[in-house]
Amino acid sequence: VSAPAVFFYLAGAAAVLSALGMVLNVRNTVAAAMNLVVTMIALGVIYVTLDAHLVAALQIMVYAGAIVVVFLFVVMLLNLRRDAFPRPRQRLTKVAAVVIAFGIAAAFLHIIPTALPTVREIPADFGSYRAVGLALYRLFVLPFEVTSLLLLAAIIGAVVLAKRRLD
């Protein structure tokens, strides 16, 4: 077994366990958010083993380092207690959860491996910031700029909404 494979399975196990931890702790919001952080970091490690270094760094910087911190920020300010959440409806949710879980398991075990194209050899600079940057600014300039416009609109919207309450 190669070293990347060992890290892949370790990080994969950590990702699955922490994702479970997040779902099971849903009424204890801070614990759920911390589990989410562990999932994000484990995904980052998986990206490293897959040679997608830029994506790994962004995964940890943006998701683990910024977005979940903002989640925690809100959760801490609201200071939600355990009884702030109603108990979930038992019977129906459980049945639905089992059905969906089996559906996803079937998809992963049967449909996806046969539907995916066979693995080809990847170029040497695959996943590097250089390759991603060149693709982003040469092949996908228009989608990139449109996305930035969308984000700008969202930022202005947020400022306008917050300002109105202040005035």
Partner: protein
């Protein structure tokens, strides 16, 4: 195993020097320097059999005291989170040393020695990623302490750290554009050279008429290519480290001690030490990015090896060069630590809204302007060359 051994040796070396030697000693230096600046004597009492060594035994006495104190977990606190938070704060600070090169690449016959633990192609991105994890130590410690002052401290810390992370990244983009790389060892090699101050005039055919002025050179260090980038990056990393003047998360006059208010014993010690380890990391990072890393100004690696080889042979020359480079790196690191201490004891703490305004209304536009100007200059030089 053969691959693992050099990595372990290099890891041990940098951790022993940075965490084992630098961090404790700079706690003493900080106390002595603040004493000098405030006309006091400073720490000088801790002794073994009457020998005080200028107060250098104080770090040892501090550690003994912290280790023997009771480790209090406050009532109503989240025990697990409270206990684990100092560890989350300390680990990223130590892990950042992994990609900082403290020497160049040296060839001894067939063996090659590269004095960096992990020579990653995305080295600087790794540092940013690791640094963004450090936020959790402070956020969790404040929340898990069940104390409103701690919570206020950690809210201040998280907002401050997320904001300054943005400008920290943007302030070094100009540097990537100059060196065309994110690999820290490549940046060291790129800075181990000189550039002619008026060399750009050559493209316009003027340089001959300048005479000797045309031959003046400067080391091609990041600080000379990106002076504004250096100032902004220094400000951002100091804000990330939460030391004065950016110590609002601790703000003892308002919120007692902020996020680590409820910590005692060695768990407080971990917060305290991680702050000083970060001072060393910042000094190493500033050196590697802006101060030429391990390089000696006006004396490149090829010059040293080429000059010494005829007398003592190539093996000795390379070894001498390696030792000189490592020493140069640590001299620069010590200078950067001194600079941080000087700033910490000189500037007062601004108001919180002023800290946020500085980030979003001054640094962010400036860093974007810096990228724009750098790009323009690079384009102009390329155009003139072609």
């Amino acid at each position: 195993v053969e691959l693992l051994l050099p990595v372990l040796a290099k890891t041990l070396f940098i951790i022993l020097i940075a965490v084992g030697a630098f961090a404790p000693v700079i706690t003493w230096i900080e106390r002595k320097q603040s004493a000098v600046m405030q006309d006091r004597i400073g720490a000088n009492r801790a002794d073994i059999a009457g020998i005080t060594v200028l107060g250098l035994l104080h770090p040892l006495a501090d550690v003994l005291k912290l280790l023997t104190k009771e480790d209090v977990v406050p009532l109503g606190a989240n025990r697990f989170m409270h206990l684990i938070a100092p560890v989350i704060a300390a680990v990223p600070a130590i892990a950042a040393f992994g990609v900082i090169p403290y020497g160049g690449i040296y060839h001894f016959g067939d063996t090659t020695i590269n004095l960096v633990v992990a020579d990653l192609d995305w080295g600087l991105l790794y540092i940013f990623a690791i640094g963004s994890i450090a936020t959790y130590g402070t956020v969790i410690s404040g929340w898990a302490s069940n104390n409103n002052w701690s919570l206020l401290g950690s809210l201040r810390a998280s907002a401050q750290m997320i904001s300054y992370e943005v400008t920290m990244g943007l302030s070094v983009v100009g540097l990537f554009m100059c060196f065309q790389t994110l690999r820290l060892s490549d940046m060291g090699v790129a800075q181990d050279s000189t550039f002619r101050i008026l060399g750009f005039l050559e493209h316009f055919g003027i340089v001959e008429s300048l005479g000797w002025l045309g031959h003046l050179t400067l080391p091609s260090w990041g600080i000379l290519l990106q002076p504004l980038g250096f100032v902004m990056f220094l400000t951002c990393v100091m804000a990330e480290n939460k030391r004065a003047p950016f110590d609002l998360p601790e703000g003892e006059s308002e919120i007692i001690a902020g996020y680590f208010l409820e910590y005692s014993g060695m768990r407080f010690g971990l917060f305290y030490m991680s702050e000083f380890i970060e001072v060393v990391v910042i000094a190493g990072l500033l050196t590697a990015l802006f101060l030429g890393g391990w390089s000696i100004p006006w004396l490149s690696q090829a010059d040293i090896i080429g000059g010494v080889t005829p007398v003592f042979g190539v093996g000795f020359a390379t070894g001498l060069c390696m030792v000189l480079h490592v020493l140069t790196f640590f001299v620069k690191v010590i200078m950067m630590i001194w600079l941080q201490m000087q700033i910490r004891w000189t500037l007062p703490r601004p108001r919180y809204d002023q800290v946020m305004d500085l980030c979003w209304k001054v640094m962010l536009p400036l860093s974007i302007a810096n990228i724009l100007v750098t790009g323009l200059v690079i384009l102009l030089l390329q155009g003139a060359k072609a």
